[in-house]
Symmetry: C2
Subunit: 342 residues, 2 copies
Amino acid sequence: MNLKKLSTLLGLSQTTVSRALNDYPEVSEATRARVKAAATAHNYTANTRAKSLATGRSMAIGHVIPISTRHEIVNPIFADFIAGAGEVYSRNNHDMLLSVVPDKDEERTYRELAGKASVDGVIMHGPRPNDPRIKLLKSLSIPFVVHGRASDGDTDYSWVDVNNRRSFERAANFLFDLGHVRLGLINGLEFMDFARRRKDGFLDAHRQRGIAADPALMVSGEMAEDVGYQSARDMLGRAEAPTALIVSSMIMAIGVRRAIGDMGLKMGRDISVIIHDDVLSYLPNGADIPIFTATKSSVHHAGQLCAQMLLDIIRAKDQTPRHTLLETGLTVGESTGPLRQR
Amino acid sequence: MNLKKLSTLLGLSQTTVSRALNDYPEVSEATRARVKAAATAHNYTANTRAKSLATGRSMAIGHVIPISTRHEIVNPIFADFIAGAGEVYSRNNHDMLLSVVPDKDEERTYRELAGKASVDGVIMHGPRPNDPRIKLLKSLSIPFVVHGRASDGDTDYSWVDVNNRRSFERAANFLFDLGHVRLGLINGLEFMDFARRRKDGFLDAHRQRGIAADPALMVSGEMAEDVGYQSARDMLGRAEAPTALIVSSMIMAIGVRRAIGDMGLKMGRDISVIIHDDVLSYLPNGADIPIFTATKSSVHHAGQLCAQMLLDIIRAKDQTPRHTLLETGLTVGESTGPLRQR
DNA sequence: GAAATCACTCAAAGCGCTTTGGAAATGATT
DNA sequence: AATCATTTCCAAAGCGCTTTGAGTGATTTC
């Protein structure tokens, strides 16, 4: 079933049928109703390809997911982000185009997305400091929103980000207030911008208190359970072990908890832990009382915000960049307590 | 830059340029080289929309992800599946179209995907017993592959699945062999086909041994950490507590481990646990010796297989359904041990 | 009663590509 | 030199839609 058939079937021209379906005013309500009824009756939907060829809009948003061996991005956090963004697209009749590409092909993929005109806009994931992709996207003059920020870039662009620096600064200060002095940081990969900012916040808090941060107590790695486990074991096994840990993700924290259990320690008493919680649906942070004291920020919500911002930009044609900075709350759970003298 | 401009630029017709780029034989190698060089030089890629309108193929595969409140599907397992499938699509120059829709709109979405002709095929996720979507997809006559199976359907269709029944049957028998008699099952939602099959396997093993399965020791729920925790606490707190548990996913198992720890028990000694491990990259099952005894099957690999099968079907035009049944290995880890008399 | 307005409707062009059915140029064969 | 096959190229149709610019009849206004 296509426009042509439908219109001959109705005894109308293609123009009228098209206008009726797309809610143009130049069509009487009577015919509009008749046309719409026929469309649903014959299960007619306009062919997207033809439609976007004619209109110049593809009604689709691209997400480019780079993969290396075991990369940051194809992870549970990403899944929740996508779910959030996808909801917004659906509500706005847009499609989501996902390209999973080896990271060396990432640039080519962006070029092609622009050249092939298969999307109206792009969400960029996992920005690094001074990320070259931002210049690339600007030069391709395709609307885009970055999930996160790329420090030190001279250009302005649209982004949605969590205040990671402030978040970790507060977390560290919270632990200092409880009497802790030796803090450990188990961070994400620090060539990622968010991880770098978190470390900055961690260090800022130390500076404010005049406490020296021990480089041996700051590690950075993939956000995986085993990395959390191994890092915690290593740190807690040291002569000068930390009395509190700040952990960059729930997944890592699960490994940290396993390590603490294996070492016969009790979390919240022998060792305090603060995590950053992305509020993943299948990894809730306890029911009533949170298991972990946490800085939290829903990545699902971030996905919605990014998607909505991009759609707004595409619609608005006002290309001044937009920014959303999300603050995190610090929720106290059972994993933190005052420093105990041993 | 488009075909027209490029061809006038080269002093050739659009036909020739198109044929040169698409490796048709009717073009001399000399001109082909010249054309290709010009294309890359001017950063030309054929407009996908126009191309697919002309060819009738969209070079895209659709994935419809239904969401309810906190649904099975938008989960870490899904993320790894998508990553696997996406890799295959990229290698074959296909795009992945993701539709995240409220489950009540799922049928409409499939209808539209077919009507709008925006994809060449579809991967169906999370089949239920007697799933109506299969009939729908057949009636829309669009190529599709199901990840999993829908029991009791009379029609044949293409699928990639894990032998879930056998897998859980073996797991239960393994525990029986260790002397356990009271086994607990912490399963996924049993309106999902895979969960139903797992339960069947669990029950089959009981039948083989002439052991009665206690309904109080079989729970089914969302595959989330807290569900695992609560289920384990409930079961282990009973007067007639199980001495071994079979858990349907790593995420749930993390909650189970937490419950066991909170109750002061030791896994592998006081209580045995076997899990099904989907081999998620960021939740590895230990390094050398697995933490959990597990039946394992990589969902990432399943994603690749589904994608490849679908592409094959689309290409082949031989529409006889294909099937791939993946067997799981039973890997022994530290979470199981012989029954101890208390 | 003629002119102007309004409410609908339509034919046809165009979006950027592929592909059919030739045509022109080249080379080989008689 | 004429014929034929081969290679190389092209004009134009068509994919299914939107949108421009124009036309029709009915209604209102002068």
